[in-house]
């Protein structure tokens, strides 16, 4: 971190636009981060889904910017949004630089309703794994190449994507079982180098009995 701080000056939005003219501008359209355009620290850009990984790698690995922290991945549903035209969904990536503490970068990918696919960045930022799962869960946007794309917040029996604007807010869904998440546990054990000799099948009567306590 500190080696950047010694050599470099923090990049403002204007500096960023100038510095990235060659490498970045052909990828993205730099847009104001706020509506009034007065924001000087945060920078925003709209990027095509096919160029997302290139843009993220540029932001992460260019030492002048070093956006090495992914704060959040957010889905947006523009259905019924006043004055909006074009793609219905968007995915916003919020980056932060640890070296230049105040600096933020928003990367926005527009996603059409017909083609709900965005390349994953779970291999570039570890935290993106869960954040992409959350966006998939709530908006139904698929992340191509994600190692484990499952619902994160909602139950595995849940049908639909509740943060979509056309999901009825009053709708209630009854769920029949509690989620033992044994598959997730085994995945974590394997990651930590522990062998799972006899993987337990999920949601079979035997597992149900085990949880209920009928079988010891």
């Amino acid at each position: 971190m500190s080696q950047y701080a010694k050599q470099l000056t923090p990049a403002s939005a204007a500096d960023f636009a100038a510095a990235s003219r060659n490498t970045f501008e052909h990828l993205c359209a730099i847009v104001p981060a706020t509506r009034d355009g007065q924001e000087t620290i945060a920078t925003a850009a709209i990027v095509a889904a096919s160029d997302l990984r290139k843009a993220v790698l540029f932001l992460r690995d260019t030492p002048e910017f070093a956006y090495d922290m992914l704060i959040d991945i957010v889905g947006i549903d523009y259905l019924h949004y006043e004055g909006h035209k074009g793609s219905r969904f968007a995915v916003v990536y919020l980056f932060k630089s640890i070296a230049f503490a105040a600096h933020r970068f928003q990367l926005k990918v527009l996603v059409d309703e017909e083609h709900l696919n965005v390349p994953t960045i779970a291999d570039l930022y570890q935290i993106a794994n869960w954040q992409e799962r959350e966006v998939y869960d709530q908006f139904g946007i698929h992340f191509e190449g994600h190692p484990n794309q499952k619902r994160l917040l909602n139950h595995f029996e849940f049908v639909g994507h509740p943060l979509r604007k056309d999901y009825p807010a009053q709708k209630r869904q009854w769920l029949s079982t509690n989620d033992p998440m044994i598959d997730q546990l085994e995945l974590r054990l394997k990651e930590n180098g522990i062998d799972v000799l006899d993987p337990m099948p999920l949601n079979t009567p035997a597992v149900e009995d085990l949880i209920k306590g009928d079988r010891l």
Binding site: H155, P162, R172, L175, T177, D179
Partner: protein, 189 residues
């Protein structure tokens, strides 16, 4: 509850003197089985705390020295439903959690009672959303509701007193006799 003292048996001439005879009080009581059972149950509730949100924080102060819930017989927190007879639900219950709560309730042995503490557990509170159960009485039967967001410890104590009154009004033998009588009528019919 009525405990009626029975006069001590009159010692017969020639028999060995009873250890209770003389001026000591009578060792016998007559009462109904219901009264004894209800007295025991209502004064020894073993709660299982199912705390999911801020109401459970208030419950901590209830259990600690200042309010001391144990004074009222709810002495012993049990963290397994198998050993408890009072389920205290404190906080928001989501649909994802609903099957877990239902299972915990089913694991409790009868007799069992449920107190729903706070706005969220009783009605869903201000969460009018896809994920929140609008009141746990959609899942399990509830005996006493506590209002508040979160309820003060006094409200918990009040609920415990109401529940104790309710338990004292139950009829263990009465229900059994009624059940036998119904069965007899079925046989006669």
């Amino acid at each position: 509850m009525n405990f009626e003292a029975t006069p001590a048996p009159i010692p017969q001439e020639g028999s060995s003197p009873s250890p209770y005879s003389g001026s000591s009080p009578s060792p016998y009581l007559t009462t109904s089985i219901d009264a004894v059972i209800n007295w025991g149950r209502s004064n020894s509730l073993w709660p299982f705390p199912f705390g999911t949100a801020c109401c459970a924080i208030e419950f901590m102060s209830l259990m600690s020295a200042r309010y001391d819930f144990a004074r009222f017989g709810t002495e012993f927190m049990r963290f397994t439903p198998r050993q408890s007879d009072l389920l205290l639900i404190m906080g928001t219950v989501t649909y994802k959690q609903a099957p877990i709560l239902r299972r915990i309730y089913e694991q409790m042995a009868a007799p069992r009672w449920v107190i729903s503490a706070g706005a969220c557990a009783s009605s869903g509170g201000f969460y009018d959303a896809y994920c929140t159960v609008p009141g746990i009485d959609h899942i399990i039967p509830v005996d006493v509701y506590i209002a508040g967001c979160p309820p003060r410890p006094e409200a918990y104590i009040d609920a415990a007193r109401i529940l104790q009154e309710k338990i004292k009004d139950e009829g263990f033998m009465r229900d059994r006799i009624q059940k036998l009588r119904d069965r007899g009528e079925d046989l006669n019919a």
